[in-house]
């Protein structure tokens, strides 16, 4: 959609530079004149919010590393040093710790928006899969970051997650030993997690560039899910329209973020992580960070070790196949009355699994986890393929402009 650059440098220096490295023209065509569908709603502002969150995490992370010591004997006390002695250390660490949660809040909204409006469908399959890769990298980064403070949850979370790989037949044990660099989670493990926790965010940034690139090739989806037909009628330039709207949404999101940081900074953490890691004592109740809970519930729902691990990873990998599992010709749930119901049931099942993941694995909780896990997979593997064949969608608007103007008419009347 972004055609050849229309950027014309105003100064002589600008012209000199542009003819040697046309980066200003790239910025101009990507973020100034780039045409955005005129019907975008606020759910479309989370991409920008996520970019800001990535920058917040990288910035606070770089600063925290200036004071943190990745060694089993010093890691826990160096985090306490950050909290008590380093100037503004408490705030920077709380921003980083809660920032991880806010990053996941934003990414879940962003993903559900894609799921609701069919943003994964042709021609946006590669865009969607790049997003799934970013999500996987985020999960790996978040997990390794949680290990660094070397509290009880850090240690036992690392033990449980690395042991997932021991479920692999034949080579499982060798893989876990290789991951640990020893016979159990210990200093070598902490060191490599620290190294990778520093690396992965930059890999995320790299995939984000590809994600935005792919987006700018195929153009944005929109709430009506109809393609742009006439750029002049159906779209508005990115600046000022999207810039201002994204900016406003970011400020609102930052207020929400700041509330967690300054009022309930430890609510999303776990009290046991303020106890230093003890390899000889497992806490009574291990829970991962909230953003992994639905997958943890799926893991525990399956009464077999290998089966549970396979189910848990499949729950994420299945997202990659979404563009081909969904057989409907219509993108947006706005015009899919039956899909809409199944979609909200899916959201409810994911939240339900999140709740169950935090509960002990016994009795009725296990049964409920099994039922919801079955629905989670059925949504992708049964509902998506069949609904496209049986559902009668509502009539689509002829164009984005038509849909917007019709709304304006009915608002007036």
């Amino acid at each position: 959609m972004s055609g050849p650059s229309t950027y014309v440098p105003k100064s002589a220096v600008g012209r000199w530079f542009e003819s040697r490295l046309p980066i200003m023209g790239l910025m101009h065509s990507s973020f100034v004149v780039y045409p955005t569908p005129r019907n975008l709603n606020y759910w479309w502002t989370f991409g920008g919010i996520l970019s800001v969150m990535l920058m917040v995490q990288i910035l606070t992370g770089i600063v925290l590393v200036m004071h943190y010591t990745p060694h089993v004997d010093y890691a826990f006390s160096s985090v306490e040093l950050i909290m008590r002695d380093v100037n503004w250390g408490w705030m920077i660490r709380y921003i980083h710790a809660n920032g991880a949660s806010m990053f996941f809040v934003a990414v879940y909204i962003h993903m559900l928006r894609g799921l609701y409006y069919g943003s994964y469908k042709a021609p946006r399959e590669v865009l969607w899969i790049l997003g799934v890769i970013i999500y996987l990298l985020m999960m790996a980064t978040g997990f390794m970051g949680y290990v660094l403070p070397w509290g009880q949850m850090s240690f036992w979370g690392a033990t449980v997650i690395t042991n997932l790989f021991s479920a692999i037949p034949l080579v499982g044990e060798s893989i876990t030993t290789w991951l640990w660099g020893g016979y159990s989670v210990d200093n070598p493990t902490l060191n490599r997690f620290f190294s990778l926790h520093y690396l992965l965010p930059f890999m995320i940034a790299g995939v984000v560039v590809l994600h935005v690139w792919a987006l700018h090739v195929v153009g944005q989806n929109n709430p009506d899910g109809v393609e742009v037909k006439n750029v002049a009628r159906d779209t508005l330039p990115f600046t000022p329209y999207a810039t201002v709207k994204d900016g406003f949404a970011m400020i609102c999101f930052m207020l929400f973020f700041a509330w967690w940081v300054f009022y309930v900074p430890n609510y999303l953490g776990h009290a046991d992580n303020y106890i230093e890691a003890n390899p000889l004592s497992t806490p009574a109740h291990i829970v991962p960070e909230w953003y992994y809970l639905p997958f943890y519930a799926i893991l525990r729902a399956v009464p077999s070790k290998l089966g549970g691990v396979v189910a848990m990873f499949s729950a994420i990998i299945v997202l990659c196949f979404l563009p081909w599992l969904d057989t409907s010709k219509v993108r947006s749930a706005k015009y899919r009355p039956v899909y809409k119901v199944f979609f909200w049931l899916f959201v409810a099942s994911a939240i339900g699994l999140g709740y169950l993941g935090a509960m002990p694995a016994e009795g009725g909780y296990v049964l409920a986890s099994r039922l919801l896990s079955i629905y989670y997979f059925a949504f992708f593997l049964v509902v998506m393929p069949l609904l496209g064949l049986f559902e009668t969608p509502r009539a689509l608007p002829a164009s984005i402009a038509d849909s917007v103007l019709k709304n304006a008419h009915s608002a007036k009347a």
């Binding site: 989670v185 070790k305 002990p360």
Partner: protein
């Protein structure tokens, strides 16, 4: 032909450069050295109690079993077990049970003298082990692992 030969040489080159970068993550010499055998004094463990010693960063349960516990472990029919193994295969002297105290599910440490089989109970995902350290209930697939050990004398146990 030349392309295939070039490609093959290139693949060998890439592989031999990659291996040190992969293998460096395996346990280093000092970690392996620190994982050498340890001794446990058995005279300090009265019948009916157990001690936990740390070996290779993991807890090892050394349990001085009572006649009742030995009988419970021996009376089980193997068909009842998810990971069938006779008690006699798991111990060298019936009164001493030595197992690695790491749940075979996802690596938590089971709690002693708990659960419905008088052995261990894992608080993480609810696996229950019997007085021979065998899995009886829950998601763990295998019995608690028995490390290499030997009785150096009647009161000294060497693990490793």
């Amino acid at each position: 032909m030349l392309f295939i030969a070039t490609g093959a040489v290139g693949a060998v080159g890439v592989g031999s450069v990659a291996w040190p970068f992969i293998h460096q993550m395996n346990p280093d010499a000092s970690t392996i050295a620190a994982g050498a055998a340890i001794d446990v004094d058995l005279s300090a463990i009265p019948e009916g109690s157990s001690v936990t010693v740390k070996w290779r960063g993991k807890p090892i349960f050394v349990r001085h079993r009572t006649p009742k516990e030995i009988k419970e472990a021996g009376d089980v029919t193997l068909a009842q077990l998810p990971d069938p193994q006779a008690d006699a295969q798991r111990v060298k002297k019936p009164e001493w049970l030595v197992v690695i105290g790491v749940c075979t599910h996802l690596g938590c440490i089971p709690l002693g003298n708990q659960g419905e089989y008088d052995g261990w109970f894992c608080p993480c995902h609810g696996s229950a082990y019997d007085t021979s350290g065998r899995i009886r209930k829950g998601p763990a697939p295998k019995n608690l692992e028995v490390p290499n050990y030997a009785f150096a004398s009647d009161t000294k146990l060497t693990i490793g």
